[in-house]
Amino acid sequence: MATAIVTGGAGAIGRACAAALVEDGWRVVLADIDGAEAEKVASDIGAGVVAAYGLDVTDFAAVHDIAARAQARHGPITGLVTAAGGGRNIALTNGPFIETTPDEWDRNIEVHLNAVYNSCHAVLPLLFEAGKGAIVNTASGAGLRGGPPHLRQRHASVYSACKAGVIALTQAISQEAGPKGVRANCIAPGRTETRAKPIEEMERMQREEEALKPGSGRASPLGRFGRGRDMGDAAAFLMSDRAGYITGACLDVTGGIRLH
């Protein structure tokens, strides 16, 4: 039985990734900065989630500790999905780049780029030990194509930089890990629901934006926002054997808003 670690497992995307992996027969170790919420998600999903941990992915040592514990209790670990991120826990303010502070970039970079390295660094040796495995990192449409920042997008420039970094990091891993039977890919969500901001809230904001500036509130060419489930399905596909010849890819799950 294959076991995967999902970081950010209590968020809308992480939760959906965990649920989709469980449906595909994976056993899932959930980790999230909000340990209590991770426990709740674990009980919602049911038996396939074998453990739930509180974990701050920016803490290099803690990430390695959780990986080692997961390996000891639920191993062999053969999968990793990184879905930790979002502005929720890093208190970013709105505004143009020149009005931001280095402290804010640091928090942004810690969570959205350095933490992905932490997780991959901790889990890759386990996958190599197993001689097989897959990684899916959550990048973003913002990392595929930088663009005029959305009205409400916070710290768009540094966020785009981080997510482009995640894609490049994943490409590098695909080259290094391929010969050891390990694949590494990204998903790139577009405007997607979060735990703090469900679809209904996004639609309400969209109507506000449309009223302010017609055309600006468009969700996507598909006419709707991304659901966690859309991301979960994409991640589960890339984690599955059906994607056995796919590595180094970044799957665009933006509903067509970020052509590249």
Binding site: I98, S157, V158, I167, A168, A172
Partner: protein
């Protein structure tokens, strides 16, 4: 004459950029963590234009702000910023796969190559905004267009620079500023020995400092006045996409 501030000016690519800009008559503020090396570059330039050298560690936001302020006062303006500070082996690090890469290596590369650019843009852009004009060019890398084995940190940082630049287009445009990147391939460098640079581009040679200098010079020229958010691939065909 217009003034360009160059970071990492003591490097071979930095020297190529300085040489190309001096040829166009730019006044130059050369900065580097190795100020002695930047002094030597200044001597070799034999430029007709004004050249000043300042020591600068781009990871030190306070020092970047100070140097940009000094430059603006000394020259009367900062018309161009060229971000050339960075590198991998030039920083004394070696290539390693992610699984064997210590966190110190990862951080050093991200801090120097990515945050260094953020620091320089953050400190220079307000000056350009006050001027109502300016142009920024950052040296990314072909490895930022394609993540490379053994260089995940470097690839991530350089990819970050490219996307940061794209996303800054709108904000910069509001200040009358253009912002672009250049992606050199496997380039000549001072630290390279005879056995280095084995990666041969389709055009049959490594990227030279003059290749990069020429691209910077064009991006800063009036000919490129409608170019912003671009990444010019100067890798000799290494990075097809």
């Amino acid at each position: 004459m217009a003034t360009a501030l160059i970071t990492g000016a003591a490097s071979l690519i930095g020297e190529g950029i300085a040489r190309a800009l001096a040829r166009d008559g730019w006044d130059l503020a050369l900065t580097d963590i190795n100020s002695q090396g930047a002094e030597e570059v200044a001597k070799r330039l034999a430029a007709n234009s004004r050249v000043e050298v300042r020591e600068l560690d781009v990871t030190d936001h306070g020092r970047v702000k100070q140097v940009v302020g000094e430059t603006a006062r000394a020259f009367g303006a900062v018309d161009a910023l060229v971000n050339c500070a960075g590198g991998l082996r030039g920083l004394g690090l070696t290539r390693k796969p992610v699984a064997e890469m210590p966190p110190e290596d990862w951080r050093r590369i991200i801090d120097t190559n990515l945050k260094g650019v953020l620091n320089a843009v953050h400190c220079t852009l307000p000056v350009m905004k006050d001027q109502g004009s300016g142009a920024i060019v950052s040296i990314a890398a072909s490895r930022g267009l394609r993540g490379a084995a053994g260089a995940a940190h470097y690839s991530a940082a350089k990819a970050g620079i490219i996307l940061f630049t794209q996303t800054m287009v709108l904000e910069c445009a509001g200040y009358g500023v253009r912002i672009n990147t250049i992606a050199p391939g496997n380039a000549d460098a001072r630290w390279k020995g005879p056995d280095d640079g084995a990666t041969v581009a389709p055009l049959g040679r490594p990227t030279s400092e003059d290749d990069v200098g020429g691209a910077v010079r064009w991006l800063l020229s009036p000919e490129a006045s409608h170019v912003t958010g671009a990444c010019i691939d100067v890798s000799g065909g290494t990075t097809l996409h």
